[in-house]
Amino acid sequence: MSDAVRAKAPVLSVEGLSIALPEGGDRPFAVENVSFEVKPNEVVCLVGESGSGKSMIAHAVLSLLPKSVDIAAGAVIVAGQDPAKLDRQALRRLRGGEAAMIFQEPLSSLNPLKRVGRQIEEMILTHQKPMPSAIEVHERVQQLLTQVGLPNPKLLEKSYPFELSGGQRQRVMIAMAMANRPALLIADEPTTALDVTTQRQILRLIDDLRRDRGMGVLLITHDFGVVADVADRVVVLRHGKVVEQGTVEEVLRSPKADYTRELIDAVPKARLDEIRRTAVHPTPLLEVIGLEKTFRVKRGLLQPPREVVAADGVSLTLYEGETLAVVGESGSGKSTLGRMIMRLTEPDGGAIRFNGQDLRQLRGEALRQARKQLQIVFQDPFASLDPRQKVGDAIARGPMAFGTSRTEAMEQARKLLVRVGLNAVAADRYPHEFSGGQRQRICIARALALKPRVLIADEAVSALDVSVQAQVLALLAELRQEMKLAMIFITHDLRIAAEIADRVIVLQKGRIVEEGATADVFTAPQAAYTRDLLDAIPGRDFFDQPGFASVTGALPTARMSS
């Protein structure tokens, strides 16, 4: 084989792959008749919602499938070999040698008890034959750490994973994957657990390394923004079948399949021209004045406690019927702010004025009465419903605690379930029978059962698939109109903030760095931090191009999810 031919030969080809699920699953095949190729120096994105089988394919490539599932038909060819047919030795040479993988959660992918330099060394020592000398290995580790853009490699190689930030850990994972110059890199949602700014850096790094070494990259993601930023070609999966594949331009500009179009439409986009500034009631409903909160984490006996500032003089005003988005990266104190308003976390100082009372002075019954008007929807729809309580009871409990009779409360609960797009019979079922999106609808119904005036949505759509996300956002927008709700929408995703909010507050390390009307913040950001955040939005260049917004039209109407 000449070099020219080799350069064109795909590093990964998946041919008619079908993976059978064990009997009794919700479908016979996790993946059915999937074919695609990854050529050298090419990034192929595998896109799909949860349950589409995209991770299964990635695991099949390195023969990492769980014991209960089997490849029923077709084959995976990695650098000329079929991993399913290799013996243990050859498989070990392939994994981490020809093909390397990085995962979503870098903390659980690194050994917590070993220094990271040691872990990278191990990767080299396992694969290089003959065994290189200790000095060579050490040099190689330094080189790799420098290549993945980690500052001060000398110090860093002696660190333990817990001492690094999420982005640094993912860089270490990438360094490990790069250790043996693989021809194929598989990245399974590598940035999903990271902040937007970090996400952009990691994606850039992967892209740079790909260009330098001409390796093929199989990137698995659920985010079309990421696809638009890095992919050469796209494979869209749904229920284990390929819906559409082609170049990024083809798929994103002129999707052929309806499903692809739906997914692209569901990407939250700033439609700044459409944002009408709702005429808000001039009286402030909720006023937060100079809120302070510092978390102190005790360390060793002699070390001073580590201090994390979650709120440093945070003040905000929420008017009736207004939606205020609080955006910031992890650790910015945005969730703590919501929890402090609900009095779930006690602030160190400041005041929260609601309806003329200071919430912080309230105790017992008075607090209970005030909380009735402030409700919260949490991020994780799986943790926020009592697994042993029927859905109807969960919704009716609130009004019943305030003296509504059981029959009346249940009647109201059924109506609310219908209102949020579920069936009234859902009231007699348990939470585990519902999908994530449906559960979040239940949580919204539960929060609304008490007819609150302020709804705090703490990352309420972050755990959901994009299409479901769009539906829940649309539902919230409708309910806000209908019930004249004031909403505090806490999110790390600026796209969502732009889609739903009238005003935006940008938090950084417990401080408000910018505050203003959504359109102003997004078009003319004042603070450098806000500009960084905006630049880091994945797919921004693509989705913000003129003419694109008009294709997508208005908010999709709320409908039953999955």
Binding site: L344, R371, D386, P387, R388, R446, A447, A449
Partner: protein
Amino acid sequence: MDAARAFLRHPSGMVGLVVLLVVVVIALIAPIVFPVSPWEMVSAPFTPPGEDGLLLGGDTLGRDVAAGVAYGARVSLVIGIASAMAAMVIGVTIGAISGYFGGKVDLVLMRVTELFQTIPAFVLAILLVATFNPSLLTIILTIGAVSWPPLARLTRAEFLRLRNREFVEAALCQGEGTLQIVLGHILPNAISPILVVTSLTVATAILLESALSFMGLGDPNLMSWGFMIGAGRTVIRNAWWMSVFPGLAILITVLAINLFGEGLSDVLNPRVSRRRS
């Protein structure tokens, strides 16, 4: 009811349950099969098993060992279950208060718990029974009083785990009262491991009761396995059956309860049962 169905498929758990049911049946029909009181002298002393119509022989005073074992099952089961219940009530209450409220309350209650844990349970039990007159009620309360610390610790740990879960906070935001939250949301989600440990406490309670009776600190009006072993131990070299049969009864019952408890734990623990399916 998935748990019940899963339990039916759990082999060792089912063995435990069946054996336990046999013991319960023996306890229930004891007065029908042995209409004569187990304290009655029905034959010559030292009658070996099978002679004189006595299946398991007679003891030093000619009392029927088989009748003793059957009646002893009643005592053992009643004391085992009742004192495990007592331990559960004390342990869950203390653990729940400690775990839910935390802070100083937790500190005080946990130090008390540690106090009970550091004193050897059996020594404390002897002390308590010797102080109060041994009767069925005082023995149950005594065993309950020395067996609750593990349950309190477990309940506290479960409450700590669940207290800050979002569904509990949601209930708080919905205006539900403390008692409602604890009994309606936290306890139902913590109950599985508590039930498992309680079932194993039944086994240790039976052993404790036997040990107390062996020491002569049992209820003098009740024929119990421990008392029989205690009475027969001096003559074990020439009349083994007097201590071996009640001993076997204890062994089998305790083993059955342990198997049942472990089966229960496997079925109620979602991680294990998922691996099985």
